[in-house]
């Protein structure tokens, strides 16, 4: 083969792509389409104006990264609720086991993936922050 042929072929491909739709996403001006089953930042589900979580401790038990902290308390009606619900996002491996383990469908994972932050402590998501994502 003439040594020049591959170069010409390559140039042809390059030239062709100048007229095709680009595959790169112009993030952050362009947003990716997040699939419904994507496992991003957690959110605590709410029902009757209260977090659904009953502090059963199954998610901290199943979590392979041991990044969930739950502490249970008793409310005025003697119902069990989570006085503390915290996830350390620096350790989370986004496996979704917590969602699967929850017996009352209290925790889900959202499409939120922009989790960068300046401070380590900001990666600890408290119950309030997790509840905000309604």
């Amino acid at each position: 083969m003439n040594p020049i042929t591959p170069i010409i072929n390559g140039m042809a491909i390059t030239f062709k792509h100048m007229f095709l739709k680009p595959v790169t996403l112009q993030y952050p001006t362009e947003r990716p389409k997040v699939a419904a089953r994507f496992r991003g930042l957690h959110a605590l589900n709410v029902s009757h104006d209260k977090a659904k979580c009953v502090a059963c401790y199954l998610c901290p038990t199943v979590c392979p990264a041991k990044c969930i902290t739950v502490e249970a308390g008793e409310d005025a009606n003697h119902d069990k609720f989570a006085t503390v619900y915290e996830i350390d996002m620096l350790r989370c491996i986004f496996c979704g086991y917590c969602v699967e383990a929850c017996p009352v469908d209290a925790v889900r994972m959202t499409g939120e993936f922009e989790l960068a932050n300046y401070d380590r402590k900001d990666f600890i998501y408290s119950k309030e922050r997790l509840l905000e994502k309604k």
Partner: protein, 824 residues
């Protein structure tokens, strides 16, 4: 033994076994829900169904069916599995889906069986129960919606605890477990019902939602309250003791505990714990470093016999031995003691002279093997509740005869056929002497008695104690005393029990000798099921005696030390873990002594009233943070390890004493284990014991006896005075010493001192339940809540010590009986 076939396996089992027992014995698992090895077979749940070929393949419960020769049993045919599944379906029909919020989850028999039998749907439909849940009880939460009606709670409360608080109430589908008239639960709060409940119907309220069962690390330990020496399993999470966990295989008591053991653990992680050494500067206790504190203490310990020490019998054997070594060898003083100097006299003087050994001649397991029990003071139940359970079981299951000699009735008096002789307070020694005389006079004595030294003298010395005289003195009928004497003498195996403790000033060496005489006369010692068991108060009271931590060779005893503090004979006082202001008689005197002494060091868990008066306070560890051995009242030596890490600025008493030994230029032992090696070499009965050998179960230290008759001196009865009551001090069931004040559980149900008076005295003084009354004696007066009680005879009153908020030591100067006036 009978031969039978279980699942095609040829096995043998004892004649008395049920099918369930036989299978278990041979490693075949049959699921159970309502059966408990400690309780009588009941057969309520039908989980344990098996097929027996001889019964034409009918399904029968394994837990209630006795084995017979040649039985052919199948435990898991498809039919049986189907039947069990249906049992579970029917149970789950009304059972709420509470697992996520139920504290039993993870340790729940129903949950485990449902999982094991894969019951994930239900063919039936019904409504769930809607019983009211009892959230108000501070210790036991009752949610009958979860109940599977196995009856274990009601049965244990009846068969072992013998309280009978719970029972089935209502009928048919409405049946539930409740108290009489469906009232609130007000019982001993031993928590036995919680421990056996297979589901989450009965739960420990103090542990509510604290942690999941699987998240707890289980640490075995030894209870730090009374001398029974129960084993505990502590549930620990994040370096905190959150609960006690039931283990039916633990200890002689099979996991049974009393209210203090089960619910009194909160002192370990109390926020009131001392966290750093304190040193008095400008009349205020300020934080200091260990080096500074120890230096100050060491400098003051150079005073030789100017130094004295009082320890609590809650320290380990190793700590007491080291403390003694520090005092004897490095400080050079013989002035040290424990238990106020008198509460150990029954052992150190009484048994020492009567049996030639300062230990009891019986063990707790002997109780169930005996056939005649003589309990001196019903308080034995309150001071040692788990020993009380043994007595309950002996009487109810083994038909052991129970006689009680006491100044008031008590729970033990309610046992079937129990005979209680209620005598005038303070006359127990005279009554025991009278019994000895009757045994001698009526020739009921055992042939072996004559050979025991002192036999002849005993006969003469007892002349004054003829039944009629003693009967008039003690307020008993002579016939009753004679009957008791005849009963005890006729018994094959007679066992005498009596409690001692700082509150029982009348339970002296003489009482011990008087009881010992009876055992020696009738040959009731040195054999199984026989002897005299002195129930010593604290978890290591017997250990403190074995370590020799009491006044000997001319050293000052507990009360003398305080006197010497007042008159300047003692200049430095080291108090390790004791709170004499509340636990030693005569509060004013104790206070004067602590104020007078030049230098006071207190090592404590809490800033008690005594510690608040100290010049240096050293924060030390609870039993859960250290290792060592405790010797129980029947001389079972038990080893325990730390369950949690101690605080950064907290040291064990062992480390404190080692530090002081070093400061004084001595040689401190390397570790508690090393010191225990030395202890074992020199302590009679401890030979061959080591931390390693005790690691699993603990062992009894052997007791060798050289009996002798001693004539016990009976105190003259306190003359009755018009308008006054004879006050006896003692222990309350919910408390032990002064430590349980820091356990939240006991404080939930008994927060303060009280005075129990009889109905007639209450009526005469127009006193009703819970009235605040003023109790005055020659030494002072105090306000206490009144309890009107049927068990107290007229003219007598009872008050527990324990409480710093209502210290009866203010009115009690150490007499066995104090005459008081009670007025509103």
């Amino acid at each position: 033994m009978v031969n039978l076939t279980i699942d095609d396996k040829q096995v043998t089992a004892p004649k008395t076994a049920t099918i369930y027992d036989a299978a278990k014995l041979n490693g075949i698992k049959i699921p159970i829900l309502c059966h408990d090895k400690k309780l009588k077979p009941f057969g309520a749940c039908r989980m344990c169904l098996v097929e027996v070929e001889q019964m034409k393949g009918r399904q029968i419960p394994a837990c209630t069916t006795p084995v017979t020769e040649g039985m052919i049993i199948r435990t898991s045919t498809p039919d049986i599995v189907k039947a069990r599944k249906m049992v579970l379906e029917l149970l789950l029909l009304n059972h709420p889906l509470d697992c996520p919020v139920c504290d039993k989850s993870g340790d729940c028999d129903l949950q485990n069986l449902t999982y094991e039998y894969k019951v994930n749907s239900n063919r039936f439909k019904d409504e769930k129960f809607n019983h009211e849940i009892d959230y108000n009880n501070p210790l036991i939460e009752r949610d009958m919606n979860r109940c599977v009606l196995c009856g274990k709670c009601a049965r244990i409360c009846d068969e072992i605890v013998s309280f009978g608080a719970l029972t089935f109430i209502d009928r048919g589908i409405e049946t539930k477990i409740g108290c009489e008239f469906d009232d609130a639960l007000n019982c001993e709060f031993c928590g036995s019902c919680i421990s056996v409940c297979p589901v989450g119907s009965l739960l420990a309220r103090p542990f509510k939602h604290k942690a999941r069962f699987w998240a707890l690390t289980k640490h075995t330990s030894v209870c730090g309250y009374c001398g029974t020496g129960c084993n505990l399993t502590l549930g620990v999470k994040d370096n905190k003791v959150l609960t006690t966990i039931y283990d039916e295989n633990q200890g002689f008591h099979k996991g049974q505990l009393c209210v203090r053991g089960r619910f009194g653990y909160q002192f370990i992680n109390s926020t009131k714990r001392l966290t750093t050494p304190l040193v008095k500067k400008n009349n205020r206790l300020v934080e200091a470093s260990w080096d500074e504190a120890l230096e100050i203490v060491a400098a003051r310990l150079k005073g030789g016999s100017d130094v004295a020490a009082l320890a609590t019998a809650r320290l380990t054997n190793e700590e007491l031995a080291l403390f003694k070594k520090l005092l004897l060898e490095d400080v050079g003083t013989k002035n040290f003691d424990h238990a106020a100097g008198y509460a150990h006299a029954a052992l150190t003087e009484g048994f020492a002279r009567s049996f030639g050994t300062s230990a009891s001649s019986a063990t707790i397991p002997d109780i169930q093997k005996s056939d005649f029990l003589l309990v001196i003071k019903t308080d034995a139940y309150e001071t040692h509740p788990v020993v009380g359970f043994e007595i309950n079981m002996a009487v109810k299951n083994n038909g052991v005869k129970l006689s009680i000699l006491s100044d008031k009735k008590g729970k033990l008096s309610k046992l079937p056929d129990a005979v209680t002789l209620v005598h005038r307070p303070g006359s127990e020694v005279a009554v025991l002497n009278a019994i000895a005389k009757i045994i001698l006079d009526e020739k009921l004595a055992d042939g072996s008695a004559e050979a025991i030294p002192g036999f002849a003298e005993l006969g003469q010395a007892l002349a004054a104690f003829d039944a009629d005289t003693v009967a008039t003195q003690s307020g008993l009928a002579a016939a009753d005393i004679k009957k008791l004497a005849a009963g005890y003498a006729a018994a094959d195996k007679g066992l005498i029990l009596f409690p001692v403790g700082q509150a029982y000033a009348g339970h002296t060496a003489d009482l011990a000798s008087a009881a010992a005489n009876l055992a020696l006369l009738t040959g009731n010692y040195g054999k199984e099921g026989c002897g005299v068991l002195c129930l010593s108060e604290k978890n290591n009271s017997q250990g403190a005696v074995d370590m020799g931590f009491y006044a000997q060779d001319g050293g000052l005893n507990g009360l003398q030390i305080l006197e010497a503090c007042t008159n300047g004979g003692v200049k430095t006082l080291f108090i390790a873990g004791e709170n004499p202001l509340t636990s030693y008689p005569d509060r004013n005197k104790v206070k004067a002594a602590l104020e007078a002494v030049e230098f006071l060091v207190v090592s404590e868990l809490f800033l008690t009233e005594t510690a608040a008066m100290a010049d240096v306070v050293l924060p030390v560890c609870s039993f859960a943070e250290k290792e060592g051995t405790f010797t129980s009242t029947d001389r079972r030596v038990q080893f325990f390890k730390p369950a949690i890490r101690k605080g950064a600025q907290i040291r064990t008493d062992f480390e404190v004493f080692s530090g002081l030994v070093k400061c004084l230029g001595g040689q401190a032992p390397a570790s508690p284990a090393a010191l225990f090696g030395e202890i074992a070499a020199v302590t009679p009965g401890y030979q061959g014991l080591s931390h390693v050998s005790l690691r699993k179960d603990g062992a009894f230290a052997a007791v060798s006896m050289t009996p002798a008759f001693v004539v016990p001196k009976a105190v003259a009865p306190v003359a009755a005075e018009q308008g006054k009551l004879a006050l006896v001090i003692g222990s309350a069931l919910y408390h032990s010493g002064t430590l349980s004040q820091y356990g939240e559980g006991p404080m939930h149900v008994c927060q303060e001192g009280y005075i129990e008076v009889s109905r007639s005295d209450a009526a005469a003084g127009k006193i009703t339940e819970n009235d605040l009354v003023t109790v005055s004696s020659a030494s002072g007066s105090i306000q206490l809540k009144a309890k009107v009680s049927l068990r107290i005879p007229a003219g007598v009153a009872f008050a527990p010590y324990h409480f710093s908020n209502t210290p009866v030591t203010a009115i009690w100067a150490g007499q066995p009986v104090t005459m008081v006036t009670v007025s509103k």
